[in-house]
């Protein structure tokens, strides 16, 4: 019998593993290089204060990256993550401050709102068949507008003290928010590697028509992906709420670029069908490292925006090369 399934894995599991995660190792190497460089230039970079601050903003960047990663899996996109995030935060803030709802219930309500708004996006995209870009561009301004109208853009800043306290908590030199982000990451790994739902989302992203004809309810998979994206955007927003200690209407407005940077740097394909959870985490780490490093090197945060743009261009080129390479590999032509 020609098929030697089992032997392949035993013979060189390490080789298999290495080949598959070659780009993750590359990414990790770059990150380490930056860390060495920045630390040698500005010792303050690895001070416990900076590491704590770094871990806090990294945690949020990771979850924002996940929020886009889950829709990239279906080959779609979600421009409304910032608006969904701020809606969830303002809703939770309003519940806590005006209605007096205790913190845990307000958090759950915020997450539920995020999932609902994500569902609306997914439902509109599947039902109307219109390009995800337009639906989420329009819904982004709808959600943001609705929130601003209801809240009159007033910050909810007399929140229960636990909110700010949790934001400042320190476990060793890491913020508990980082632990939450890694927990969500673990959940993502379980979703995409160990559940039927995750496989259906990836199949819908890789080839929607073939998936449909194989019995995968593609419409449902896309809607669920957008619900998850909304949920994660709300989670990121609420984590920011802890960090800032106040529910502010300006949350989430600058999430679009980092939300693409982290997954794309990490290897998630823009065309859909492949996600790398660890890649997204490393992608977010690289972006946060560079952000913090530039600040510490007093290059001034004005030039930061330029660097982030160039990095995304580089990541996109890398992605292009990888997917063309993967395409050539999967079509049998020797790369």
């Amino acid at each position: 019998m020609t098929l030697s399934a089992t032997s392949e894995d035993r013979r060189n599991p390490l080789a298999g593993l290495l080949a598959e995660n070659s780009n993750l190792i590359g990414l990790a190497a770059i990150i380490i290089l930056f860390w060495i460089g920045f630390t040698s230039y500005a010792p303050g970079f690895v001070s416990s204060f900076n590491l704590f601050a770094l871990s806090r903003s990294l945690a949020i960047d990771i979850v924002v990256g996940f929020s886009t990663m889950v829709v990239l899996a279906t080959g779609g996109m979600n421009l409304a993550i910032g608006s969904i995030g701020v809606c969830a935060v303002m809703f939770a803030g309003w519940l806590m401050q005006e209605v007096g709802i205790p913190l845990p219930i307000a958090l759950v309500a915020g997450l539920a709102l995020g999932a609902l708004l994500g569902f609306l996006n997914g439902f509109a995209i599947v039902r109307s068949g219109v390009n995800a870009f337009i639906i989420t561009l329009a819904s982004a301004s709808l959600f943001l507008g609705a929130m601003l109208i209801l809240s009159k853009a007033v910050t909810f800043n007399t929140l229960p003290p636990e909110v700010a306290a949790f934001g400042r908590m320190k476990w060793g030199f890491v913020s508990p928010l980082m632990v939450i982000a890694l927990a969500i990451g673990a959940a993502m790994v379980v979703l995409f590697r160990f559940t039927a739902l995750g496989r259906e989302i990836l199949a819908a992203g890789a080839n929607a028509r073939a998936a449909e004809l194989s019995g995968v309810p593609v419409g449902r998979a896309i809607i669920v992906a957008h619900m998850l994206s909304g949920l994660l955007a709300a989670a990121a927003g609420l984590m920011l709420l802890f960090r800032l200690g106040a529910a502010m209407p300006s949350i989430g407005q600058d999430w679009l670029l980092p939300s693409f940077l982290a997954p794309v740097l990490g290897g998630t394909l823009l065309s859909g069908g492949y996600v790398s959870v660890i890649g997204t985490i490393l992608g977010a780490l690289l972006v946060t490292t560079i952000r913090s490093g530039l600040l510490v090197m007093q290059i001034g945060n004005f030039w930061l925006q330029l660097f982030l743009g160039l990095i995304l261009l580089l990541a996109v080129m890398l992605d292009r090369y990888r997917s063309v390479h993967a395409e050539r590999r999967s079509l049998g032509k020797r790369a």
């Binding site: 399934a5 089992t6 194989s214 019995g215 999967s330 049998g332």
Partner: protein
């Protein structure tokens, strides 16, 4: 200008499309190019019109070798073509579409008066009622086809290639087109007429070249000497390699799938047939007969407007493909393996178990790769899928192995009614036979198969009964006597009924 094709060869991963094709197209003649699906016709056309580059052999124009890297080069060398798929710009006017390569300008701006004057001449030849000012998207399919032809004519090249030009135009317009072609031929142009319609080829073409399985069955034979019968047999070929797939006890098998005068949103009217348990029901027809569309309607991928579908004796309406699979255990193997059958980037393991992820997953919806492997590996082994490991991306497999993965998928899904659409298109002969045996084997284990194919030998090998389809309706039903000669004549009879055919096949069913 004389165009000759010399020993052209072209192959794709896992299949040789063209194997040493040579014939010559002389000026002042209409040269028919015929052949069954998968005979290599469309690949040859793409080579002649510069879309593909041949692996071996060469094209010569008046003896000089030419090489085309793009359609532009072919046009420059004097070869223009009307392809099957639409190549018009929907929101542009007819006139503009025709002369888009050389829009006349006055003072830097496009002179639309000149555009219409210039473009007017060509559609008028065929259908004067077409106004060059209307936008193409507002035209009927027939009118669009005429504009495509007009566009090719407007290039005034010395060689004009028409791929199934009469597929969607009426008899009256066909006559007008033939008159134009005859006039162009008399002006010394060379015309390559690619068509399935035997009676059209016989009435207008001077010579015919027939392709079969990538090789030339008849090279530039004058139509007068060939005659209808010899053309048909050249197309279908004589080999008697009818693989033995063993007898099946069909007597008294109860019907599993019945269509009672169903009409669909894709254009079927009053289609009825019965598929019995363990039977292979053949559905034969040419391009555009509506067979794939019928399959899509049956599995819930298109709407059934009227009539009844009865599954295992019970009347059903199937809303979606997932429902067809999960609730009715009805599967469909698509003709376009790469785009609709498989997920190329994903490994064999997951491609096989896609339909049953939900079933393998526990209550929490959790699956491990090991669980998938426990289902996929034995199936891949049983179907002898040649691959280094089950983690191999399906895209890296040969056509034959990909089809085996496709079949393994449906075996995993445990469907007992399987619609198979062109199972062995683009697959090498050796693997083809293995797949035929495989289909035979699964029917013996109780699966009923609706086989859609335009590969005559395959149909006669596998099918118990054969329905002949044309223009979205069933034209006849023939018991399969497995005698190749009689069966192929009978089938072609149904397809080409209406012509004054010498060898009128007697009604089938004679022993």
């Amino acid at each position: 200008m004389q165009l000759s094709i010399e020993d052209i060869g072209k192959s794709f991963p896992g299949v040789t499309a063209l194997d040493g094709v040579s014939f010559t197209i002389r000026p002042g003649e209409i040269h028919a190019l015929m052949g069954e699906n998968g005979a290599g016709k469309s690949t040859l056309i793409k080579i002649i019109t510069g879309l593909y580059k041949p692996d071996r052999g060469r094209l010569t124009v008046d003896g000089k070798e030419v090489a085309f890297s793009s359609p532009r080069d072919a046009i420059a060398a004097g070869i223009s073509a009307v392809h099957q798929e639409r190549n018009l710009i929907p929101r542009f006017m007819v006139g503009e579409n025709i002369v888009i390569e050389r829009l006349p300008t006055r003072g830097g701006l496009i002179d639309y008066g000149a555009v219409h004057r210039e473009a007017r001449r060509f559609p008028d030849m065929i259908d004067p009622s077409i106004d060059t000012h209307t936008e193409v998207r507002r035209l009927s399919v027939a009118q669009m086809q005429i504009v495509e032809i007009a566009k090719a004519l407007s290039l005034e090249t010395s060689v004009l290639l028409l791929d199934e030009p009469t597929a969607s135009i009426t008899g009256h317009e066909t006559e007008a087109l033939f008159a134009v072609l005859r006039r162009l031929r008399d002006e010394g142009k060379a015309i390559v007429f690619v068509s399935h319609k035997l009676e059209e080829v016989v009435s207008i073409c001077d010579r015919v070249t027939v392709l079969r399985d990538g090789r030339v069955a008849a090279a530039g034979e004058p139509i007068a000497t060939m005659g209808r019968g010899r053309i048909v047999s050249a197309m279908i070929g004589r080999e008697e390699r009818v693989a033995e797939i063993g007898e099946r006890r069909l007597a008294g098998a109860e019907p599993v799938l019945e269509a009672r005068s169903i009409a669909t949103s894709l254009g079927h009217r009053d289609v009825s047939f019965t598929l019995r348990k363990g039977e292979i029901l053949g559905l034969y027809g040419l391009v555009g007969a509506g067979r794939t569309e019928l399959a899509r309607a049956l599995i819930g991928d298109a709407r059934i407007l009227s009539g009844e579908v009865v599954l295992r004796g019970e009347r059903v309406t199937i809303g979606s493909v997932p429902e067809a699979i999960r609730r009715h255990r009805l599967g469909y193997i698509s003709e376009d393996r790469k785009a609709e059958g498989l997920i190329l980037a994903h490994p064999i393991r997951s491609n096989i178990v896609i339909p049953i992820w939900r079933r393998i997953a526990g209550s929490l919806g959790l699956i491990s790769r090991a669980a998938e492997r426990r289902v996929a590996a034995p199936l891949a082994q049983r179907l002898e899928v040649k691959a280094p490991s089950i983690e191999q991306a399906v895209g890296k497999l040969s056509g034959g192995n990909q089809q085996k993965v496709s079949i393994a998928k449906w075996l995993a899904a445990g469907v007992d009614i399987l619609i198979i659409d062109e199972p062995t298109v683009g697959i090498d002969i050796k693997t083809k036979t293995a797949i035929h045996e495989l289909i035979g084997e699964i029917t013996r284990s109780g699966v009923s198969v609706l086989l859609i194919s335009s590969d005559m030998p395959e149909m006669i090998t596998l099918a118990d009964r054969i329905l002949v389809m044309k223009d979205f309706s069933i034209r006849g039903e023939i018991e399969n006597t497995r005698r190749y000669e009689a069966m192929s004549q009978a089938i072609m009879g149904h397809i080409h009924d209406g012509g004054d055919d010498e060898a009128k096949p007697r009604e089938a069913g004679h022993g």
